[in-house]
């Protein structure tokens, strides 16, 4: 009985901070709505209805959660090792490109072979793009934040060129898009009448795989890296090799997220196939405290926010950008939590709590 009580308390303790952060962010969002002459109650009601109002809407929310889950898990791997991969967008894009190249060029192969092959290609595409930043960091000490970001812009233009040039659909009347993939490659729809596709199962599987990963030898090595390079070096870990490996895995998952979007939703490459999931994945990973279950839950929350947000824009004319405002605020409140904790501890013990170092971004290890 006592045991159950403490575990309940543990759950409350770990769930309360993200919930409070979201609550505060929504509150500031409401103030902003009031300030611009909108009715916050009406706006949030539409948002909620837009995300959960019908089977189709719930399905749509799960559709958006799919790439977010996969990509945020990838982001968490890098973040946990103190590598700041914020190039998810570019890695996602390269994943879609590689997968599509395989799907279009080997279309003679049977689907059961071609589909996994394209999956691997997507992983590889993302992994190479991010791995490049990893090599730059390992060999040249080039800040991975800036290189991954710059690679995002390069990827946008690369895709723009591909869908207008070498990969353009010859029967597409000049639209910037590739041909459709063949029918047999489309991921099965789980709920007829909706767009909910098999990708969500893959995403959930990857979330569970995340737990296994952190218990593996590689996972352990990566966690050690997060404790600081000295700690890792003393443990006999080859730093530069591990940096490249982490970037490779982390961005490979972003590529896989791209794969689910192509084979589950669009069935082709489009200019704007990447809808800014990369930045969102960072928010999701942080709100989820860099742990797999947390990421699963918070990607569902943010998926609801974007699905509901676009309904809100359509129905009550609240600009969709409010969603980004809330995203930014959520991170700010998540990291500001520390101030409150320090304040509380100081008043409780009358001593300063030195336990927090700048390296922990919200616990998790």
């Amino acid at each position: 009985m006592l045991n159950r009580k403490t575990s309940l308390k543990n759950i409350m303790v770990s769930i309360a901070p993200p919930v409070i952060s979201i609550g505060l962010a929504m509150l500031v969002g409401a103030l902003l709505l009031l300030f611009t002459g909108q009715d916050p109650l009406e706006a949030f009601k539409t948002l909620f209805w837009g995300a959960f109002g019908s089977t189709n809407r719930i399905a749509e929310t799960l559709v958006k959660a799919t790439p977010l889950m996969i990509m945020a898990l990838g982001t968490s791997i890098a973040f946990k090792s103190q590598l700041w991969n914020i190039g998810g967008d570019g890695q996602f894009t390269l994943g879609t490109v590689f997968a599509m190249l395989v799907a279009l060029n080997f279309s003679a192969l049977p689907a059961p072979i071609l589909l996994p092959l394209s999956f691997l290609a997507a992983f590889l595409g993302g992994a190479l793009w991010g791995g490049l930043a990893g090599v730059f960091r390992a060999k040249f000490n080039a800040n991975e934040v800036i290189t991954t970001l710059m690679l995002n812009y390069v990827a946008v233009y690369l895709l723009g060129w591909l869908v207008r040039g070498p990969m353009i659909d010859p029967n597409g009347h000049g639209f910037p898009q590739t041909p459709l993939i063949q029918e047999s490659l489309k991921l099965p729809i789980l709920l007829s009448g909706t767009r909910l596709h098999f990708g969500i199962i893959i995403a959930v599987f990857i979330i569970f795989a995340g737990y296994v990963f952190w218990r593996s030898t590689i996972g352990f090595r990566i966690k050690l890296m997060g404790e600081g390079h000295h700690v890792a070096r003393y443990s006999g870990i080859k730093i530069s090799k591990t940096i490249v490996l982490i970037m490779f895995i982390s961005s490979g998952l972003a590529g896989v997220a791209g794969w689910t979007e192509v084979f589950g939703i669009h069935y082709r490459l489009l200019d704007d196939i990447n809808s800014g999931y990369g930045m969102l994945a960072i928010v999701v990973a942080l709100l989820g405290n860099l742990n797999p279950l947390g990421i699963g839950i918070s990607s569902f929350f943010f998926a609801a926010l974007i699905v509901g947000g676009s309904t809100m824009q359509r129905m009550v004319g609240v600009p969709f950008s409010l969603v980004s405002v809330i995203e930014g605020l959520v991170i700010i409140f998540v990291i500001s939590r520390v101030v409150y904790t320090q304040w509380r501890d100081r008043h409780a013990n009358r001593t300063f709590n030195p336990g927090f170092s700048h390296q922990s971004t919200g616990g998790g290890h």
């Binding site: 902003l32 611009t36 002459g37 700041w84 914020i86 730059f136 040249f140 000490n141 080039a142 800040n143 934040v145 800036i146 290189t147 970001l149 710059m150 690679l151 812009y153 390069v154 233009y157 690369l158 723009g160 060129w161 207008r164 040039g165 930045m279 960072i282 928010v283 942080l286 600009p319 950008s321 409010l322 969603v323 980004s324 405002v325 809330i326 995203e327 930014g328 605020l329 991170i331 700010i332 990291i335 500001s336 520390v338 101030v339 300063f352 030195p354 927090f356 170092s357 700048h358 390296q359 971004t361």
Partner: protein, 314 residues
């Protein structure tokens, strides 16, 4: 085409264009020299620039006065950067995450406010941007006149601020404090320098400059506000400062390099180069990566770079 490349007219427009397009990066980079020197990596500059671009545009639109626009942009930049200062100095948060949050927030907030203020319009609202100001005598020089002395006043201001930044950083006690705080906060503290205060000020100076850089885009370069108008310049400015090893003159050189890449890309497109224009558009971003690769190994960052300071911790 080759003959066209070599004409004087082309070269003049290329160089003048390089100077103009380097200015928003230069403003932002100059402010970021203070911020980075004090030991803080502010990746929120992108968001701050966007807020500045909006502030400058809104201020000018409603008052019909460009200088009011500039002032509001600077103010917006300072206020917005306070969030970064709070997160990095008071909260001692991870600066990469804090900066990313600020960029996401700035991107969302500027787009949100723009839509709320101006609604959805067929034609975007416009203002009369800063006009070119030809400097007497110098402006009439052949070749150099149109390249250097026929820009709007903000361009000249940027160049003056390069010198000001150098003087403040190297010849004043404030500059000395900034460097001390970035190199050895504990020693600075023991000499009576208020470490958190200096860091707050440096982030705010960075914010003021970034606001100005953003305003240059909306009211000095174009005459409207666009959601995507900053397009990575905030991040490029951070790279420029690292490349320049915290020296304003070298920052000027690096900013000009990016301006040059951008201006070249625009003009090659106009000439109908047989290279896909997307490759040319990607040029400044690829250049940023190459520049980082070339300097990062040697770069000696301030010793306390990205490390929060707390008196009671050792």
């Amino acid at each position: 085409m080759q003959t066209e490349l070599l004409t004087q007219g082309f070269l003049i427009s290329l160089l003048a264009g390089a100077i103009r397009t380097s200015v928003p990066i230069l403003f932002t980079a100059l402010g970021d020299i203070f911020t980075q020197r004090a030991g803080i990596l502010n990746l929120g500059l992108e968001g701050i620039m966007l807020m500045g671009a909006l502030g400058g545009f809104v201020g000018t639109y409603f008052t019909d006065n460009l200088w009011v626009g500039v002032l509001i942009a600077i103010l917006t930049g300072v206020l917005f950067s306070l969030i970064m200062a709070f997160l990095s100095v008071t909260v001692k948060a991870n600066q990469v995450i804090a900066g990313t949050a600020l960029t996401i927030l700035g991107t969302g907030l500027s787009a949100y406010l723009y839509r709320s203020i101006f609604g959805v319009q067929k034609l975007p609202p416009q203002i009369e941007a800063f006009p070119a100001l030809k400097i007497p005598i110098l402006g009439d020089l052949p070749f150099w006149g149109p390249v250097f002395f026929n820009h709007n006043i903000l361009v000249y201001l940027a160049f003056i601020l390069v010198i000001v930044t150098h003087i403040v950083m190297e010849k004043t006690t404030f500059g000395l404090s900034v460097r001390a705080v970035g190199e050895h906060p504990r020693a600075a503290d023991s000499r009576g320098i208020n470490v958190p205060l200096v860091r707050y000020l440096c982030v705010m100076i960075g914010g003021a400059f970034a606001g100005l850089g953003g305003a240059f885009l909306s009211i000095g370069f174009m005459n409207t506000f666009l959601d995507q108008m900053v397009a990575g310049r905030g991040f490029i400015a951070v790279a420029v400062v690292i490349f320049a090893r915290w020296n304003p003159y070298r920052a000027l050189g690096a900013a000009l390099l990016f301006g040059g890449a951008n201006a070249l890309q625009l003009r090659l497109q106009a000439l109908g180069m047989p290279v896909p224009h997307q490759f040319l558009l990607a040029l400044p971003y690829i250049l940023t990566i190459l520049v980082l690769l070339s300097v990062s190994k040697k770069a000696e960052f301030p010793a306390a770079y990205t490390v929060p300071y707390s008196r009671s911790e050792r």
